[in-house]
Symmetry: C2
Subunit: 351 residues, 2 copies
DNA sequence: GTGAAAGCGCTAACAA
DNA sequence: TTGTTAGCGCTTTCAC
C-alpha cells in the first residue's frame, strides 16, 4: 500500500489516468468531494493515497487568482510585543485556512519596501504591516494604488485601515499617572522618531498632558535604536543639574535597558529615578524592579489586524479597529514625595 | 507617467503587446536583462513601469518548479528563543533571495502535521522545523519519503539533518555546576516529555551527571505545559520533607514562572531554593534574581538551520551542525554551604 | 537579439 | 455525475 512514497511528478492528470477518470473529477474529489459519486471518490482517493499525492497549490492559485496566503511585515520579532502580534495574526489566519508569509524589517524603510514587493510578487491575498511612519510611507501608497488588501498593525491612521491603540492618549495617561505620584519633571526616551510614528505620538501625548497639568516641558532624548539605550545619554541625564524624576521610555525594551544602565552607573530605580515603559511585555512583571508600563495587547492587535484583513479580502469591507490599552503599575516608578502628590492629581481626561 | 497605477490584470503578455515585442523578450528583460538589447530593454521597462507591473511569481514558480520560499515550523514565538531562531533563519533566507512561510504549532503534534502538509501543498523548496519528538515524528518520515528538503532546529537527530546544541551534555554541565555549589539534591522540572525531546535529553543528561557525581537521584516533576509551571506542584515540592536544594527547569519560561510562584508562596530564590533554567533568554539577565541558565543560541540555530537547508536545496548536501552552548551564572542559584562545595566538585566531563 | 509554441498543475465553464 | 477544453502567467528550447 506504500502510502506517501517518493513523489516523482505526480499531478492530477497522472492520478486521473491511473484512476481511469478525468482530471476534472480528481479535482472535484479534493475540492467538492460531495458532488462526486462515493465509489469514484474512494477509488481516486486510493490511487492518490498510494502516491502520497496532494494537489499542488501553485496550480490552483494561478488558476483561481488567490493564494490563500497573507503577508506579515513587522519590525522585529525580538520585541515580544511583535512576536505576540504574529501569534495572534497567524492563529486567526490559520483558522480561516490561510498561511502566513512573515518578514522582519528591523525598522528599516528600505527593507520595508523590499519586503512588500516580495510579498506582492508572491501574489499574497493581503498584507498586515507595521511601517516606520504611516504618514510618510511610500509603500502604503503603492499598496493602495494597486488595490492590494492591507491593514496596518500598531500604526494609527485615518487614511489606511489599521489595528492599533491610541498611543497619544495612552502616553498622556502615563504622564498623568506619573504626575499623580508627584513627578513634575519627566523626560521621554525613544529611538529616532522618523523610524516610529508610535514613538512620535507617545511623545506628543506626553507633552500634551504635561502642558495640561502644568508640569515642566517634557524633554526628548533620542537613542540610537528603538531596542536599546546608550549609556552615554543616560549618564548625561543622570548627571544633569536639574535631572528629571521620571523617565518615560517609548517601549519596554528601552525601559529595560535604561534600568540596567542606571544600575551599572551606580544609581537605583526607582530610588534615584523612576522609569516607565510602554507595551506591557510579559517579562516586565518578573524584572527587578517590575516595570510600570502601558500594556498594548500585541496578540489582540495581530488578531484584529488579521480579522480586518480577512473581512477586506472576503467582503471588501475596509475598516479599522482601536484596541484598549491598560496601565500596569510596577515597582519601577515611585512617588516623589507625599506632599506634592495631591496638587498635581488633576488627570488630563483621555480615552 | 503615473507609476504603480491600479494594476488590472497586466501580465507579461499585455506588456509585450504594448511594447510591440514578444512575451519571451519581456521575460528576458526581467530575468536576464543583459542578453536583451539596451534599447528594447529600456522600452519594455518603461511600459512595465507605467503599469507598476511586476512579474507574477506564481507563473514562474509553476514553470520552474521552485518557489524560492522556505517553511518554518516552530512551537511558539512567545518563547524568545524561538523568536530569535526565526530572525536568524529569515535573515539568512532573505540574503539568498528566499521568502519564509512561518507557522506555530504550540507543541501540538497534530498541528505539526497539518502545518507541514500546508507547506508541502504550497510547494516550498524546503522546511525548517522543530518537532515534539524527532524519533517518533511521523511527519519526518513523510518528509523524507517525499524527498523533501528539510532541517530540524533544536531537535537533535542522527537520522535527520539538524541544527542544535548537545542538550544532554549541556544539562549535565548544569548539574555539575550545581554540584560544584554544593547541591546534592536536585529536581528536574519540565512539561510533558513526549512533547519535547529536548526536555527528555536534558533530564537524561542531568540524571547521568548526578549519578556520576553520586548525588541523590534527580526527581522529575511534570508541569502541564512547557511554558508555565503549576502552583500546586511547586507547593508540593517546597513542602516535601526532604526537599531539593535546587530546581533545574527545562527552559527559562518555566524557570521564570517557578521563581514567581515560589515568591507567591512566601519562599525566596535562591534563599530557600535555587532555580536554574535553560535557553538563555535575554530577559533572564534583567530578572530578579537574574537567571542561572544554559544559553542555547537561538539566532545561530535558526541561521545554521537555514544555511544547511539552502546547502541541501542548492547543492544536495545533507549535513547537520552542532552549536555551542554556554553556562550563564545568574543570581537564581546560590551555594548550599561553603563546606560541601569541595567534595563534589569533580565535574563529569562533557563536550 | 528576438519570436513562436509548448507546457508547468489546476479548475470552471460547458457539454454530454 | 463526469468529461472536454481552455487558460491562469511564466520560461525555455528551438527557430529565425
Amino acid at each position: 500500500m506504500a502510502e506517501e512514497r517518493r513523489t516523482d511528478k505526480v499531478s492530477i492528470v497522472e492520478i486521473a489516468r491511473q484512476a481511469g477518470v478525468s482530471p476534472a473529477t480528481v479535482s472535484r474529489v479534493f475540492n467538492r468531494p460531495d458532488i462526486v459519486q462515493a465509489q469514484t471518490r474512494e477509488h481516486v482517493l486510493a490511487i492518490a493515497g498510494s502516491h502520497g499525492f496532494r494537489p499542488n497549490r501553485l496550480g490552483s492559485s494561478l488558476r483561481l487568482g488567490s493564494t490563500r496566503t497573507l503577508g506579515l511585515v513587522l519590525p522585529t520579532l525580538s520585541n515580544p510585543v511583535f512576536a505576540d502580534c504574529f501569534e495572534g495574526a497567524e492563529q486567526r489566519a490559520r483558522q480561516s485556512g490561510y498561511s502566513v508569509m512573515m518578514t522582519a524589517t528591523h525598522y528599516d524603510p528600505t527593507l520595508e519596501t523590499a519586503a512588500v514587493h516580495r510579498l506582492i510578487d508572491h501574489q499574497l491575498d493581503g498584507i498586515i504591516l507595521t511601517v516606520a511612519d504611516a504618514r510618510k510611507s511610500s509603500i502604503l501608497k503603492t499598496l493602495k494604488a494597486r488595490g492590494m488588501n492591507y491593514v496596518l498593525a500598531y500604526n494609527e491612521s485615518v487614511i489606511h485601515p489599521c489595528a492599533a491603540v491610541d498611543n497619544y492618549a495612552a502616553a498622556s495617561d502615563m504622564v498623568s499617572h506619573l504626575a499623580g505620584l508627584g513627578h513634575r519633571h519627566i523626560a521621554f526616551l525613544s529611538g529616532p522618531l522618523d523610524l516610529s510614528d508610535r514613538a512620535k505620538s507617545r511623545l506628543a501625548g506626553s507633552r500634551h498632558c504635561a502642558r495640561a497639568l502644568r508640569l515642566e516641558r517634557v524633554r526628548h532624548y533620542v537613542m540610537l535604536s528603538h531596542t536599546a539605550s546608550d549609556t552615554a545619554t543616560i549618564a548625561r541625564i543622570l548627571e544633569a543639574a536639574s535631572r528629571p524624576s521620571a523617565l518615560f521610555c517609548s517601549n519596554d525594551l528601552l525601559a529595560t535597558s535604561v534600568i540596567a544602565i542606571v544600575k551599572e552607573l551606580g544609581g537605583a530605580v526607582p530610588g534615584d529615578i523612576s522609569v516607565a515603559g510602554f507595551d506591557g511585555i510579559r517579562y516586565g512583571a518578573f524584572m527587578s524592579p517590575s516595570l510600570t508600563t502601558v500594556e498594548a495587547p500585541g496578540y489582540e492587535i495581530g488578531k484584529a489586524a488579521c480579522h480586518l484583513l480577512l473581512d477586506q479580502i472576503e467582503q471588501g469591507a475596509v475598516r479599522s479597529e482601536q484596541l484598549r490599552y491598560r496601565l500596569i503599575e510596577g515597582a519601577s516608578v515611585a512617588a516623589v514625595s507625599p506632599l506634592s502628590r495631591k496638587e498635581s492629581h488633576a488627570a488630563c481626561a483621555n480615552q
